[in-house]
Symmetry: C2
Subunit: 431 residues, 2 copies
């Protein structure tokens, strides 16, 4: 039964970084994964679980005994519990909350009040904070203690907790110890709003040349916490992975070793959607049954027409998906873009129509077949360019992710147009 589990676990799993342990655990079949977990030391439990994708994480958590859960929940901070809460039963979350100190519990409740796509949910609380009327020596005293990673600034707040500004740590070296910090504010550092969608907050790090930015409440400008460049890095990374997975109808958290039943069920939906589009294509072919019976060469060559359209269309679609993701597609450049893609499609349509036309003519010893397939390819590649530009724009307007469903819809169009053009022209010219 377990013969296959020859995965070369490192002598001591725990010598690895938590992120590496997480990747390794995910790569193991579920029963081996459970055994390997025993090598993780208690103080790394939370970090490793946070670094894992949620489905694999949950496969482990389901098998934890009460002792292990007890150890896990004994010392969680707010940010960790926010990450794990969705994977834990409610009663375990309650236990973890009960064991937190008041400050962490306050942070948790604050974060949990923001929706899953908002920055406020993901702030961390490892901040260097001082009252806004502090002086340089106060900052120096603060900095003598352990400072959090990515600390380039000390942040100041007023009596009500409102963020008043940031002072760059290196500015302290030139200053007199009695100088008020408020005189040293770094004017370039704009705080982020906690109500900002997480994605937009990540964009801000493309231009902000700091490793961490303060996050404030929308209502009263209170300093909630900070967002680090590292978080932006992780979010962008996850977003791309989600896009890759979505393009095949997969969930971003899909476990490599998900249970067969669960995995089959999820994938069945995508296959079902695809089946409907395939039947649509079949129906289009079915309209020309009589023609197919007379000219069987059409049945043989059908896939070539559909496939050339599909590929040409997917090239345009991919260019559009990138452009939309970068915010580069506007109503103003849509028409010139359509013109350009139609021209590219036209050129390639004509080129490959000639090539395929010649091959088909020779293969089936009929110039007419060559003409029919050539014309059908020109029509289908033009339709592909048109759909490749318009479908993603339409989906975006309908708030549907073009990376998810664009390809299915496009292929349906190029299949149906390809079959109808080819078999329709065949009916007109060959029968």
């Amino acid at each position: 039964e377990d013969d296959d589990n020859r995965n070369p676990l490192p002598e001591r799993l725990d010598d690895l970084e938590p992120e590496q342990i997480a990747l390794l655990l995910e790569s193991l079949p579920q029963d081996v994964r459970r055994h390997a977990w025993n090598q993780v030391s208690v103080e790394h439990y939370a970090e490793v679980l946070v670094a894992m994708r949620s489905e694999a994480r949950e496969s482990l958590l389901r098998q934890f005994d009460s002792d292990t859960l007890d150890q896990l929940t004994s010392d969680l901070d707010a940010e960790t519990l926010i990450e794990l809460a969705d994977s834990l039963p409610d009663e375990i979350v309650d236990i973890a909350l009960a064991r937190m100190d008041d400050r962490q519990r306050g942070h948790y409740e604050q974060s949990a009040s923001y929706a899953e796509d908002l920055l406020g949910r993901y702030v961390d609380h490892e901040l260097l904070i001082l009252p806004h009327n502090s002086r340089v020596r106060d900052a120096e005293r603060l900095l003598r203690r352990q400072v959090p990673d990515y600390s380039e600034h000390v942040w100041l707040i007023d009596r009500t907790g409102r963020y008043t500004g940031a002072v760059a740590i290196n500015q302290l070296f030139g200053a007199a110890s009695h100088q008020p910090l408020a005189e040293l504010y770094d004017q370039d550092l704009e705080p982020l709003n906690a109500d900002l969608p997480l994605k937009d907050a990540c964009d801000r790090f493309e231009t902000a040349a700091v490793a961490a930015l303060p996050v404030v409440t929308a209502e009263d400008g209170r300093l909630l916490g900070r967002m680090t460049q590292r978080l932006a890095f992780e979010v962008v990374h996850e977003g791309y992975e989600a896009q890759l997975m979505a393009s095949a109808g997969l969930d971003e958290d899909e476990d490599l070793f998900a249970p067969v039943m669960r995995s089959s069920k999820r994938r069945a939906t995508w296959l079902g959607i695809n089946l409907l589009t395939a039947f649509l294509a079949s129906w289009a072919i079915g309209l020309f049954e009589a023609t197919l019976q007379q000219v069987v060469a059409l049945a043989v060559l059908m896939p070539v027409v559909a496939s050339m359209g599909g590929i040409a269309g997917s090239q345009t679609l991919t260019l559009m998906i990138r452009g939309l993701a970068l915010g580069q597609i506007t109503t103003a450049n849509m028409i010139p873009l359509l013109k350009k893609e139609l021209s590219v499609g036209g050129l390639n349509g004509v080129l490959w129509a000639i090539v395929v036309g010649i091959v088909a003519s020779v293969w089936f010893e009929s110039a007419a077949i060559g003409l029919v397939i050539g014309l059908a390819i020109v029509i289908n590649i033009a339709a592909a360019a048109l759909s490749g530009v318009l479908i993603p724009i339409l989906l975006e307007r309908l708030k549907i992710d073009p990376a998810l469903s664009g390809s299915v819809i496009l292929t349906t169009v190029t299949d149906v147009v390809g079959f109808v053009a080819f078999l329709g022209l065949g009916t007109l010219l060959l029968v």
Copy 2:
């Protein structure tokens, strides 16, 4: 002619950040782009060009007059010239080099000596450096000046330029001014090797909790420069974009408004490769011409079998591509993975075989047709699961990116297997 160019340019393009200007310029048709460039102020030239994707950048550079080129090359630093060099004519690079000071020219030559995929090429030189026998007061004096972004450490070097260690800036606050810095070394900060592939260097930022790491030469440990988390962010971002584009046979630097001829030529290659695989599928169908003539229903239903296999296979393939990218696929977990994917494929194969079988039986009033398509779907989905696991592993061994060509090869397999299974069974059972 220019009617379509209604792109709403901001009143002053130059109020935007260089990265935003770059995105905006890329989104403009080439003639409008050239005009819009006039709104970019001279001091942003280099930054905007560096932020642009290379094809769009080159479309602009080709149209620069000698004045603009002169302004561009008047004050380039080493990192900027490294980024732009491939887009500039050699003689312009030489002019820019001649106008650099000796220090920057030295940096440039050092960076240029590393290959395009190595970290050494991309280091920046905005460092806080001190001799290794310096004291706390020396560091304090250094920090009074303008410090570079992302500075959490001062780095120390010996007389030969060899990196000896890093001191966290906040450590200075607790220390006496005469204390040697060497007593305050941060032991956790491992320097990066300049010979490291850039990708691996990016991975290091997943676990290193600092915004910048020192980069040293492989031969003698000399401090070359630094790598920032921001660079890692950019490289990972570009890598994903390249993967998205490659999946449709597009170049990662493809300009949204590339000239029609150039764009057509590039895409033609991908269409040509696809055409070969489509002809392979046609050839497979051609083997059963006689059967098709007798049972035209087979021609109508063919695409359903091929398409179900293609979709099921692409799901497995996508899961594998992610696993390979994360380093999670090993010889040890390959067999359990294959078992799992075959089980998932088996379940979904049987499920959809029944559904499609019933639909086909009713449509063509023949239980035999239903049986034939049902069996063909089970066979093709099983073949898809097998190919979905094995093709990417094989490609990886051959050092071919599975994200680039995996999908084409997989679809070829599922098309050919699908057509042969369906038409072959049809020949056996229906004729």
